[in-house]
Amino acid sequence: MERPAWAPRSIDISVPSVSRMYDYYLGGSHNFEVDREAARRAMEFMPGLPKVMQANRAFMRRAVRFAAGEGITQFLDIGSGIPTFGSVHEVAQAAVPDARVMYVDHDPVAVAHSQAVLEGNEGADVLAADLRKPREILESPEVRRLIDLNRPVALLLVAILHFVEDADDPYAAVAELRQALAPGSMLVLTHAAYEGIPLPAERAEGAVDVYQRIRNPLIMRTRDEIARFFEGYDMVEPGLVPMPQWRPDTAPEDEDPYASSGFAGVGRTA
């Protein structure tokens, strides 16, 4: 018998979780030995992985501020993970006090953690759902309560799409989300790529293999493939670029070379 959609997947903390590994890269302690072990193995191939994560966070912060500056007050962050610090609601609510932030993740531990963090925050909530089933996200009572889909939304898909395999058709899922958003909405996206990694490809592949082995494959896509996620949206300047080059606050020479791994961009729908 197939497990029905409304039953969450079981959790097994003896299996590494990408969101807890992410926390570990960022110096957090919201993780277990299995997570740290996997993260350390990946870092043996790519010692600069934490810098990639940090660049992701920094980009997200700039993008959220940009969106808020453009008048957007609603944020839908899918694949939010464990918000160690500098999360979307902190940045957004600092910029716009009545900003509304909806976090979505399919990792029950990340969701439970977010619930604890967000307790008492009227403008933010978390939903256990899967990016691969966008309809369930869009039609959930949590999203309906917090987000008005008739007004512009900033949809954040930061460091998540490279965990969705082609077999699960990430393009269709993103298209469905894009189509649900009102004019003026933005798509904020980062994605892993071999391009920009300051290492020979074999080394990077070693890190990719680690994710393969923990049954959470990391799908590296080319810039063109990543650009397709924005289909129908107009790219905000400077387009799809390495993370440090997207509207930097400071001179990029401060940046660690690893920060330029992968691509980041923001698109807007007319």
Binding site: P4, P8, I11, G28, R61, I82, P108, A112, T250, D254
Partner: protein
């Protein structure tokens, strides 16, 4: 904050800049370095203050260490770089002009305190985060467990409450679990269901593949199968189900259980059987009906080589009379009794009897030897009808006519066979009934032509395939043409010109006679007017009269008088230019209602001729009653006068009829005059007008015009 160049404030800021540059690369903050520097500036001020305080307190160092952790500098490398930086630059940038030795000692102690504060804060933070994530994991597990529990409870409810029967058995066939619906279907308790083995449930009606499919499934060679299956209930009754069995595999894909889903179809099956019975049986007699019979006949005709069929098509003689005189209820009881007797005639499983409708029955025999068996079957049927049938205390004698068709399978369609049987039955009936006849191709062909003509008739009128020929009516006294009889012909596209006797009975049968008759009447009257218009000079002889035949059907048609009047008025012809011919047989037993339209026409001045007089039962006394002004003697009277000398008896008869007619004020016309001697004889006998080949064959209207002209001038 403005700072005077190289003043204390400026030097403090330069220290913070150096510090942030050293540490920023090992932090994981999402802030920018300048932002990070702004964050370090108050910490630097604290250190600077402590360095130069009147009474030294290293506690400030602890607070700065803790603040670093707060700013997400959790990497020990951040502490190491911080201490390096403080060690190298704090005294240099913030010492101002204090005692170097003392300042260096203070800086050292501050560093110790910072390390302790950092370590303490990092430890607290780590513990707190560990606790948070552990609690989150626990909570998540609780949520998952709860959801699983709810899932399971829901599945339980679905399983127990399902209207469909669900059962799970292991691969050996041992029943492990069944739901309420399944128990109710079987009429068994959970206790007695469990521990039973699937393989016990063999039923004689199991489809041949049933247990092969089962074996394939439990061996893992098949994922599921679906079939209709019967089971015995403990009370001996039968449960029919729509059964779907699926193989359940474990996570590794190994077969583990079999899952059966059953739908109780017992009642639906019974209903289907009943509906099927009702759809294939005659409600009155319980015999198979037309549908069923056709199925069987088609099967028999589709049988393989060497197989033959024999069909008896029975129609009761005079059944209509029974219905009309004794009522339909009596008729129905008669049919039921006949059906019972016929049913008894079908003695072998290869024989069947069915009711096609009304009083028509069929009996079918199949096999290699039907040439013999069909004769025997027909004989049994005739025999079965011999004994009178008692209905409402009356003993009714029933007779029937049977048409027999016998032949090899695979040559003819069911419809062809049945038509042949029908035709043959009519042959038996017209030969007097109470007999059976064997189909023969020649009479079939004739009847089939009749059938073809019948179906072609309706369109023939629309397509203008009919035309009229005229045969002159000649005055015997002076030989002048007095009129003509209109005779309709059908120019059939395949069969050529057909005479009225080929199609008028068919037209009568189908009702087409009414529009066809109206057309003939109209055309004929129009023709009469055309002659009148041409014939202006022959007034002395009176108008040329047109004779038109009326069929019995037209006679009873309510529009006859109105149609006739309308046609006469429209053409401007006077009624005495028209003579309607009615056969004697059509008027036999005619009552006043039937005669009324004829009377009305006669009163208007239309002549009515009694056609074919002498062929039927010529009731002379009746003649007075009829609104008739002309008798047309049938050709049979005049035939003998072709010879010389004529038969004296015939002469006497004709003389008698003529004198009787004249005494009733009726004119006499003779038909079929073929010789001059004949004409002369008839003139002597007192006949008034004549028609026949001696004068002219029926022909196109202009021929008659020529004759009349010759006549008038000659």
């Amino acid at each position: 904050m403005s700072a005077e160049p190289d003043g204390p404030e400026d030097r403090l800021r330069r220290f913070a800049t150096i510090w942030s540059r050293a540490v920023f690369p090992v932090t994981s903050t999402s802030s920018t370095r300048p932002e990070f520097e702004e964050l370090l500036l108050p910490l630097a001020r604290q250190l600077s203050g402590a360095l130069r305080a009147r009474s030294f307190d290293a506690e400030a160092g602890r607070a700065v260490g803790a603040a670093l952790v707060e700013a997400h500098c959790t990497d020990p490398e951040a502490l190491s770089r911080t201490l390096d930086c403080v060690d190298a630059y704090l005294v240099l940038y913030c010492g101002e002009d204090g005692d170097r030795e003392d300042l260096r000692a203070r800086s050292g102690r501050l560093q110790h305190a910072m390390a302790a504060g950092f370590a303490q804060a990092l430890r607290m933070r780590t513990l707190a985060e560990q606790e948070t994530v552990a609690r989150a994991a626990l909570e998540a597990q609780g949520v998952v467990a709860q959801a699983l529990h709810a899932t399971e409870a829901r599945f339980r409810a679905v399983f127990e409450g399902a209207a469909i029967g669900i059962g799970i058995a292991d691969l050996e066939g041992n029943v492990l679990q069944v739901n309420g619906a399944l128990r109710r279907m079987f009429g068994l308790s959970e206790q007695s269901m469990r521990g039973r083995n699937v393989k016990e449930w063999v039923h004689p009606d199991d489809a041949p593949q049933t247990w092969r499919l089962y074996d394939e499934l439990v061996l893992g060679e098949r994922e599921h199968y679906h079939l209709e299956k019967a089971f015995y209930r403990p009370d001996g009754t039968v449960l029919w189900t729509n059964l779907t069995v699926s193989l359940l595999r474990d996570a590794d894909g190994d077969p583990q259980y079999q899952l059966a889903l059953m739908e109780d179809t017992t009642e639906r099956r019974l209903l289907n059987l009943r509906l099927r019975y009702e759809a294939t049986h005659d409600a009155l007699t319980g015999l198979p009906n037309r549908t069923f019979f056709f199925e069987r006949l088609e099967k028999a005709l589709g049988a393989g080589e060497g197989q033959r069929f024999g069909l008896c098509y029975l129609d009761l003689d005079g059944f209509k009379t029974v219905n009309d005189s004794l009522g339909h209820a009596a008729g129905d009881r008669l049919l039921v009794e006949v059906a019972d007797r016929l049913q008894a005639c079908a003695t072998a499983s290869t024989e069947m009897v069915a009711r096609l409708g009304g009083d028509e029955f069929v009996a079918l025999t199949t096999g290699p030897d039907t040439e013999r068996t069909v004769d025997e079957l027909a004989a049994r049927i005739m025999n079965a009808l011999l004994a009178p049938i008692s209905v409402d205390g009356r003993e009714l004698t029933v007779r029937g006519s049977i048409g027999i068709v016998e032949g090899p399978a695979g040559e003819r369609s069911a419809a062809e066979v049945l038509r042949s049987a029908d035709i043959t039955m009519y042959r038996a009936k017209s030969a007097g009934g109470n007999r059976f006849e064997l189909a023969d191709p020649e009479s079939d062909a004739r009847a089939i032509t009749r059938h073809g003509l019948t179906t072609a008739l309706p369109t023939a009128l629309d397509r203008g395939e009919f035309f009229i020929e005229y045969q002159p009516l000649v005055h015997l006294g002076d030989g002048s043409v007095r009129g003509a009889e209109a005779l309709v012909r059908w120019l059939h596209p395949q069969h050529g010109v057909l005479s009225p006797d080929r199609f008028i009975p068919l037209a009568e049968h189908t009702g087409l006679i009414v529009p066809l008759g109206r057309w003939v009447l109209e055309q004929s009257v129009l023709q009469a007017r055309a002659w009148r218009d041409l014939h202006g000079g022959a007034e002395a002889l009176g108008p040329l009269r047109i004779n038109v035949n009326l069929s019995p059907c037209q006679l009873t048609h309510p529009g006859l008088v109105q149609d006739t009047v309308e046609i006469l008025e429209r053409t401007g012809m006077s009624p005495d230019a028209l003579c309607l011919e009615v056969t004697e047989s059509a008027l036999i037993g005619a009552d006043d209602d039937l005669l009324k339209p004829l009377r009305r026409l006669a009163e208007m001045g239309v002549d009515i001729a009694l056609d074919d007089f002498g062929t039927g039962y010529s009731n002379l006394a009746n003649l007075r009653r009829l609104p008739v002004s002309v008798l047309k003697l049938d050709r049979s009277f005049t035939q003998s006068m072709q010879r010389f000398p004529a038969d004296p008896v015939d002469l006497k008869i004709v003389e008698g009829i003529v004198s009787l007619a004249h005494s009733l004020d009726l004119a006499v016309t003779v038909e079929g005059v073929e010789t001059g001697a004949q004409a002369e004889q008839l003139r002597i006998l007192g006949c008034d007008t004549a028609q026949g080949w001696y004068y002219a064959r029926p022909g196109p209207p202009d021929r008659l015009h020529d004759l009349a002209l010759v006549d008038a001038t000659g």
